[in-house]
Amino acid sequence: MSDNAGRMLLEVRGVTKDYRLGKTSIHALRGIDLSVEAGDFVSVVGPSGCGKTTLLNIIGCIDKPSSGKIFLDGLDVSTFDDNGEADTRLARIGFIFQSFNLVGVLDVRENIEFPLILAKVPKAERARRVDRLIELVELGEFVRHKPDELSGGQRQRVAIARALVNRPSLVIADEPTANLDSATSTTIMEAMKALNEEEKVTFIFSTHNELIERYAKRILLIRDGIIIGEEFPGEKNPGERRRGEWSRGSAPGGDSGPHAGGGAP
């Protein structure tokens, strides 16, 4: 986990993503520019179909941009082949999914340990890291439980532990609380916030929920495939730092263009 907060971790330069649907071209992202420093806690917000998931997928090397560059830890990951992307995901990125996406046949401990095995971490070190994370996400009683024996909140905590176990530079969470009740959502966000503040883990997460987005140090509003503004909730006059005038109900100046495609294709 990051111990050099403030350095530039992620740079997204002019990223576009187009999908072909028959004869129709759908512009999911239409030129995204974004920088994230190590230790940041960024929320990406916007209506359904605005391109949040596509952006997170491209940042997370699980989808390729149609054009543009993505630099992670100074490496241009947009030029990587499949194996390079897989290795980058393994070593530098942690994922938390809306529907947890745990491996159903593995128990809690094995789910958390799985990325370490892929990374060929020695057994003793694996045990040490997994033990620490199990303690961190308070799942000590459930290590031998299978995912379908856990509540939604517990599953998401397993997913958080799994995302952190390889000490990634960046954790990407795509609507991590969408499938949770409000109390559990708060618990999960508190856990993520604590990890950001105490462990200096860099998070980028997307959400629909206005209460959840307020946990972020920085909020990016995306609409129709472009970032139309950003906000710093922790600062005294957040409105002064906005990139432009925006409201949650409409795109600025009515310049919405063709509607962006769905979340993930």
């Binding site: 997928n57 699980i62 989808d63 897989a86 393994l90 996406n101 491996v103 340990e113």
Partner: protein, 421 residues
């Protein structure tokens, strides 16, 4: 953990795993059973027909075109001399050489005609007589099928099948009249005691053939030193053509009396059987191939369905950092395990089926008898065939799974994650 993951996945999706392993097991068992059946047919052919008919046979060249193969005109006039010449060669490849005197005869019930009721004749049966040495090695199919008595003890008596004996009202120890027409066209009969009763697994053979000592036959037919054919048994049947070539000079005047001789090997003697066996092999091969295709399709579809159900899980693994190749290996490993399990089951089932069928044999009826084979086919298991079937089953399973693995491996991570499953 990859191995454990594959194992756990196979267990979790046990219904599909069962379908895949079951399809492999059935295909493997069918391949084993069909192969063993074929092995039984060919084995029975090599074990009995060839030795009984001889690996090399010398006969009158006119026999092939004769309408009556038992015509006494076709006897080799100096068979004894020919046998002596062959024996004098001292060829170690030749295990045995023997003149066989085949002839047509009528077996007649030996009964006091005064005991017969009005209009009733003694029972009789037209058969082919074989005059052989009492210790002949060209009648093992009969020697090992003796039910009562023994095979021409001390060169005495007559050996015939239980079935034939029943038809002519004879029993072990009773007399039987053997009627022939000798070389001069004169009728001749001999009363012989039934010294042996046999029952082979070929009704055709049992109803058509009896054995007496060659000496007795020659006496009855007035054919001393003559024979229908000279048969040779070789240590290795693959030497037949070479031996036949080397015997050719001996047969120039060997038959005597200006007779043209023909030397045949077991391949030419049994050419028609080979053609039928080839046809049977092709037919069974096609059946096996069809089974492999059907099983492969079932396995491929089941694997594909199983994999598609888990596509989101695989997408998650790839998102975590599992390479596409590693994911394909994981899926193949599962296919390999199920293939190995199915093959093991198939071998077990195949073994049981063969063991069961080997007891009584499968009645293949007159087709086999027309080939001179037993009507009961006993499948023969063969280690290498078992090994081949096991390997082939695993390979088919792997190949079928590879298609599914490739489909998932080539799918994008985002696409996999977006798949609802």
């Amino acid at each position: 953990m990859i191995l454990r993951l594959a194992l756990l996945s196979a267990i979790k999706h046990w219904r599909r795993s069962l379908v895949v392993a079951g399809a492999v097991a059935v295909a493997c068992a069918v391949m084993i059973a069909i192969g063993s059946l074929l092995n039984g047919i060919t084995g029975s052919f090599y074990d009995s027909v060839i030795p009984n008919s001889g690996h090399v046979r010398i006969e009158d060249a006119r026999t092939a075109d004769s309408l009556n193969p038992l015509d006494l005109e076709l006897l080799l006039p100096n068979a004894a001399g020919l046998v002596a010449k062959i024996e004098a060669l001292g060829d170690r490849r030749i295990v045995d050489v023997e003149p066989i005197l085949g002839f047509g005869a009528l077996l007649v019930e030996d009964r006091d005609v005064t005991t017969l009721q009005g209009g009733q004749d003694p029972r009789n049966l037209a058969m082919r007589g074989m005059g052989v040495s009492p210790d002949t090695r060209f009648a093992d199919n009969v020697r090992f099928a003796m039910k009562e008595g023994s095979f021409l003890p001390g060169g005495r008596g007559i050996a015939l099948s239980e079935r034939a004996a029943r038809l002519v009202g004879a029993k072990l120890g009773t007399g039987l009249l053997v009627l022939v027409q000798d070389r001069n066209g004169e009728p001749w009969y001999e009363r012989l005691v039934v010294t042996g009763l046999f029952a082979t697994e070929s009704a055709d053979f049992d109803e058509s053939t009896f054995y007496i000592a060659e000496e007795t036959a020659a006496s009855m037919l007035d054919a001393a030193g003559m024979a229908r054919e000279v048969r040779l048994l070789l240590a290795d049947r693959n030497d037949a053509e070479a031996v036949a070539r080397e015997l050719a000079p001996l047969t120039g005047g060997g038959g005597g009396g200006g007779t043209t001789l023909r030397i045949q090997t077991w391949q030419t003697i049994n050419a028609s059987i080979f053609a039928i066996l080839l046809f049977v092999k092709i037919l069974l091969g096609i059946i096996m191939a069809l089974f492999a295709i059907v099983s492969g399709t079932i396995i491929a579809n089941s694997s594909l369905m199983s994999v598609m159900e888990r596509i989101r899980e695989y997408g998650t693994m790839r998102a975590i950092g599992l390479r596409a190749r590693s994911l394909e290996r994981l899926i193949l490993l599962e296919g390999l395990m199920l293939g190995a399990l199915g093959a093991a089951l198939g071998v077990g089932i195949g073994f049981i089926v063969i063991a069961y069928l080997s007891r009584g044999g499968i009645d293949l009826g007159g087709i086999m008898e027309s080939l001179g084979l037993s009507r009961y086919n006993r499948p023969r298991g063969d280690f290498w065939w078992f090994a081949f079937c096991t390997l082939a089953s695993v390979v088919v399973s792997l190949a079928a799974t590879a298609k599914a693995a490739r489909s998932v491996g080539s799918m994008g991570v985002a696409e996999s994650l977006a798949t609802s499953s």
